[in-house]
Structures are given as structure tokens and as C-alpha cells.
């Protein structure tokens, strides 16, 4: 029988099936961050301890300061406590932590792949919705809530009802400056923010094959914004080259054995999916969001849409509300919308390739006087690599603030937030009302597009900027 990649991984991790349709799945790898203290409280409350601490890996990201690497310098007591609790919990139970101030700390979804912890064919979970990121290497990766985190800690298993599958196929070469970020924003604009609900999304097609590992991580990261339970890309030579030599990747004979297993993972040619979607890769453009859902995305040459043209009254009312919140007028070209702040970072776009793409735009240019621009690398490793390449000098010379790794302005749990009414060009994943601080106005876009906005002070087609036309 032919199977999808999802089915192959699912079958391999089944501990048992109940008659009522629930399956108990065994978890290979469990990632933790500093927002997960509740799960340990739940565990302790039941007098339990982690069943398989050797399968758990932790790093603080949500509450760390991006101006210092010292726990004691985290100003807000609550934030400091979150980082300290992760440290205490991991020590107490013998869990590996890439702690604050060590060379491997980073955003949990940047740390996992770069350590080689995210591997093809594994079942990986983390108490964070953007766990879908890890599917980029061909893993099945579920984001879970804290009660489920406690359950996985205690039993190393997870109850699931089998999700449906959706194939999203994109053929055709992507144009210049059309990145993984633009691809996923175009997908979500097409299927809607709930389009993938109940489904595991598998991305296929030549445009996806052509993406680097970083691009695939960005793509899978935002699967949750399309409603997906998980997102995945079949492993191929790009994946194997990326993983080879990573600290936790198999080595030597184990690597060869792993390669044999991994090569059998991709969906069979005639595998059936419950839903199919396709997009033309050659038609995709650099994208920018204008509303408060990631589905509200447009190509950079677009104009702010008019609620009068909405499909129904509900959408009209919703669009009007979003335009009011975002301080936008229907009909304005996106390229005329001025920004106050630029944030290049988050688990969506803070990897080395993202840093390079933004630096290529910043090189020899200056951030507009009206803009405050930040670059927050996703991990200590990314930061170190970027500095070895001199990218930090380029950013600094252009007027960007080069900061310490963490989630930062993506969610602002560490206090890095925008002021009410400030418009932020952000490489993160959610443009929800208040996501980057009460009243903050978030527009999602790629790192190069964010850098272009920083330079010109408004949204700009980065291709035109680089061609000297903007």
C-alpha cells in the first residue's frame, strides 16, 4: 500500500490504538523553553518525574533579555524567574539545557535544527505552536499545550487522533527575492488562516525542492498560521547536507544507517492526500501583510484593499476593523506605507541565511532617520557565524541595533515591545492585534524586505531598491 510520509512516521510511533480512534504515540524528542514552568508544576503536583530525560532538550528564549546574557540582569522579576525555573527544573531532572550565556542557547526552533536534534522520521513535540518548524527536515512535529507537555514528560507519549493530510504543491522556479517567507504567506493568503485545520501539511514541488534548509524551516514554521497541525517537507540531499556533522546528528556507521532509513521516508508517488492545493511558483512575489491575520497578505505592488469589495458583510466588517486598528486607508499602495520600527528576528526568520539576506540589503546603506531597526539573531551559533562573516558590522554601520539571541519582539514576553500605534515591519509570524505590544501595528515580510523598509522608511520592493530604482 502506498503511504504518505506522515503515515510512515505515524505508523512507526504507534504504541497502541484505542477503539475510540485515539492513538498513543511515542515521542522521540521533546524540546522545552522557558515558558514551560507550568508543566513541571503539574508533574510535581502528581509526584512524578520525567520518564526519559535523555530525550528532552531545553533552552531559554521567551524571557531572555536581548541586551544582556546574564540572568541576574533581567530586570523584570517575573521574567527572570521564568529563566531561572527552566534552569532549576532541567538541573533537578538531569535534562540537557543550552542555558543562557552558553554558546548553544537560542530560540528553541532555531536551536533544534542547528543541533541536529530535529531529524527526518522522528516524532518531535514542544509546548509551542511553532513546533511545526521542525517538519522542514522531514520530522512529524506537533505543538502542544502545557497539560500535554506534562503528559509527555511523565509518559514520553502523546494521545492523538489521526489528522488528515493536505499536499501543497508548488512547481516552478521562484523569482529573485521570493523566499520561503513569501511562499508561506502566499499559501496562507490562498487557503486562509483556518485552511489547514485538522491537517498535516506536506509541501511538495520543484519550488519547495529548490528552497534551502533555512527557507524550508521558515515555510514549515508558519504552517500553524494556515491552521495546520504540522507542516513537513520530504528529506533530500539538501536536508542531509544540512544535518551532516551537526552535534546530535548520527555519526559514522550510524549516519549511513540513518540515511538508508531517511531515504525511504518521502511519500510514495501514488500516495493519496485528503486535500490537494497547488500554486504556481513562478507567479509568486515578495509579500507584505496589511491586516491582523497572516491570511491578509499581498504582493508588494498591491494596494490596501477596500472593505467595499469584500465577499460578504462579515468580511467587510472585519476588514474595516483591521484597517482602523492598523491605521490604514483603502487604496493606498503598500509601498507608500511608512514604518516606525523594523524587527528582523524570531523563529521564522533569524537563521544565518536570513541574516545574510538582510545584510546584503543593508550593506553600504543607512537606516532611515525615522526608523528604529533591530536585528536579533536566532541563536548564539547564528550570532557567532554572522559575526565571523562581518554581518554585524554591516548592520551597525547602517544603523541597525545588533542584539542578543531570543524571541524578542516576536511576542514581547521579555519586554521588547513596540509602542501603541507604532508600525512594525517584522519578519516574525503573527500580525495579531497587540501581538507586539498593545496597539502595535505589525506587518509580516521577509528579512530582505524588512531591511529594505528600514532603509527607505516605507515598504519597498527590495528588488527595486537593489536595482537602484527606489
Amino acid at each position: 500500500m502506498s503511504e504518505t510520509m506522515f503515515e510512515k512516521i505515524w505508523q512507526k510511533h504507534r504504541v497502541l490504538d484505542r477503539e475510540d480512534g485515539q492513538t498513543l504515540l511515542y515521542v522521540d524528542t521533546h524540546l522545552l523553553h522557558d515558558g514551560g514552568a507550568t508543566a513541571f508544576d503539574l508533574l510535581r503536583g502528581r509526584g512524578l518525574k520525567p520518564r526519559a530525560p535523555q530525550r528532552i532538550f531545553a533552552t531559554p528564549d521567551h524571557y531572555v533579555s536581548t541586551s544582556s546574557r546574564k540572568v541576574e540582569e533581567i530586570e523584570d522579576e517575573r521574567h527572570r524567574e521564568m529563566v531561572e525555573k527552566l534552569d532549576r527544573n532541567t538541573r533537578e531532572y538531569g535534562i540537557k539545557q543550552f542555558g543562557l550565556g552558553t554558546p548553544d542557547q537560542g530560540i528553541v526552533h532555531v536551536m533544534g535544527p542547528e543541533q541536529g536534534l530535529s531529524q527526518p522520521g522522528i516524532l518531535l513535540v514542544c509546548g509551542d505552536s511553532h513546533t511545526s518548524t521542525h517538519g522542514a527536515v522531514g520530522a512529524l512535529a506537533f505543538g502542544i499545550g502545557s497539560t500535554e507537555v506534562a503528559h509527555v514528560l511523565a509518559t514520553q507519549t502523546l494521545w492523538q487522533r489521526k489528522p488528515k493530510t493536505m499536499r501543497i504543491n508548488i512547481d516552478g522556479a521562484l523569482g529573485d527575492q521570493v523566499t520561503g517567507k513569501d511562499v508561506i504567506l502566499a499559501i496562507i493568503a490562498k487557503i486562509g488562516a483556518a485552511g489547514g485545520t485538522g491537517h498535516v501539511l506536506e509541501y511538495t514541488g520543484s519550488a519547495i525542492r529548490g528552497l534551502s534548509m533555512e527557507g524550508r524551516l521558515t515555510l514549515c514554521n508558519m504552517s500553524i498560521e494556515g491552521g495546520g497541525r504540522a507542516g513537513m517537507v520530504a528529506p533530500d540531499d539538501t536536508t542531509y547536507q544540512y544535518l551532516a556533522g551537526k552535534p546530535y546528528a548520527p555519526q559514522g556507521a550510524a549516519w549511513d544507517a540513518a540515511l538508508d532509513r531517511w531515504r525511504a521516508l518521502p511519500s510514495d508517488a501514488d500516495a493519496r492526500f485528503d486535500a490537494e492545493v497547488s500554486l504556481d511558483g513562478t507567479a509568486l512575489q515578495p509579500m507584505v501583510t496589511w491586516g491582523n491575520s497572516p491570511e491578509d497578505a499581498l504582493p508588494i505592488d498591491g494596494r490596501i484593499p477596500d472593505p467595499a469589495g469584500a465577499v460578504d458583510a462579515e468580511r467587510r466588517e472585519q476588514m474595516a476593523r483591521m484597517l482602523a486598528y492598523m491605521g490604514l486607508t483603502a487604496g493606498t499602495p503598500l509601498a507608500e506605507v511608512a514604518v516606525d520600527r523594523v524587527f528582523i528576528g524570531s523563529c521564522t526568520n533569524s537563521r544565518i541565511e536570513d541574516m545574510r539576506a538582510a545584510a546584503a540589503v543593508a550593506r553600504g546603506r543607512k537606516v532611515a532617520a525615522s526608523v528604529r531597526a533591530w536585528v536579533v539573531p536566532g541563536s548564539e551559533r547564528v550570532k557567532k557565524q554572522a559575526e565571523a562573516e562581518g554581518l554585524h558590522e554591516i548592520f551597525r554601520a547602517a544603523g541597525f541595533d545588533w542584539r542578543e539571541p531570543g524571541c524578542s519582539m516576536c511576542l514581547g514576553t521579555n519586554g521588547d515591545i513596540a509602542q501603541p500605534g507604532e508600525r512594525v515591519a517584522s519578519t516574525s509570524n503573527r500580525n495579531f492585534m497587540g501581538r507586539q505590544g498593545p496597539g502595535a501595528r505589525t506587518h509580516l515580510l521577509s528579512p530582505a524586505m524588512a531591511a529594505a523598509a528600514a532603509i527607505t522608511g516605507h515598504f519597498t520592493d527590495v528588488r527595486r531598491l537593489l536595482a537602484g530604482e527606489a
Binding site: 503528559h151 491552521g227 472585519q318 492585534m433
Partner: protein, 200 residues
Amino acid sequence: MEAFRTLDAVAVPLPRPNIDTDQIIPARFLSRPREVDHTQFLFHDARRLPDGTQNPDFNLNKDAWRNARIVVAGRNFACGSSRESAVWALFDAGFRVAIAPSFGDIFRNNGMKNGLLPVMLPAEVVEAIIAQVEADPGARIQVDLPAQTVTAPDGSVHGFEVDPFAKHCLLEGLDEIGLTQSYEEEIAAFERRFGRENMR
């Protein structure tokens, strides 16, 4: 977990699609432990005007709906982050049922594990119920989990689907960890079978 069987309560309409978990509980309250009463964080920013005073137009602030225990919302309710505190905030404020045409998957899971029943009904049914509770603020809805039905203010009865396992746990207020531990033999056997190649 608090068990849930039936509920007869006031339903408050939140007739918008894509109400995300950042709206239900803004990120700056996520560092609060479970022991803290999360009522004050529920829709914290949406409930207030920019000057910090209560927004009289937000339905949860209106007298008729102050005692609501059921929320009826637009599609893709509670999409976004996995924060379980979105459920806690609703739960602590007294809510035990959320009705919508669709939900964020992780929220649905979190709800069922924390005594908050997510009920999916067809979009036209949800629209009709919203129209009824808007027309008659304070109108009540009956939810029966064993029978898997919702009775709207106009008396119409609507069946809904619920995962049998999650239903069982919610009806009994069961702790899932305890239940899973009863499968210890199967898990241990799996670990042996899963083998060296997959064990770190």
C-alpha cells in the same frame, strides 16, 4: 480536571472570525502561574479603551452578559499560540463551553483537557445562535455532553461531534496521565521494540 456533563447558562456572542489567543490573553500575562486567578487577563486589551477604562461596546462588559458561561464565536476561534492560559482565562471567568464553526486545533485540545468544552457547529447554525443571543441579551443555551446536543434559545436542538476519548475524560474529570500510566506495559514494550537505533 473539573468534570463536565450539562450546562444551562447565558451565552455571550463574540461574532468575529479569527479571534486569536493573543486577544484572549495578551502575551505579557503568560508568566503567571496556574494558581493565579486568570479572570482579570481575559480579553484584557479588547475590554479596555486606549485610556484604560472599560470599553462599553465589548460584549463581555455588558450587564446582560456578565454572568455568561458560554461563548459563541466566529470561525477559527482561539487560533494561534499554544498558550494554555487562553483556556485558563476563559475557565476562571466562569466559561465552560465555547461554540464556534471551527477552532484552532491546539486550543480545542487544551480545552478538553481543562474542563472547557469546545463545540463545533455548522457556520449557519452558529450565525443563527449569535443572532438569537444578540436579539435577546441574557438568553440561555443548554449544552448536554452525554447526548452531544446544544439547545439554542429558540428551542432548536443541534447535535455536535466530540472525540469519544476526550468526552469520556471530560465526563469523568479524568486525569489523562493516570490513564496513560495504565498502559505502562505497552509503553515499555514499545521502548524495547523501538530499539537502539532510535534511542538516544
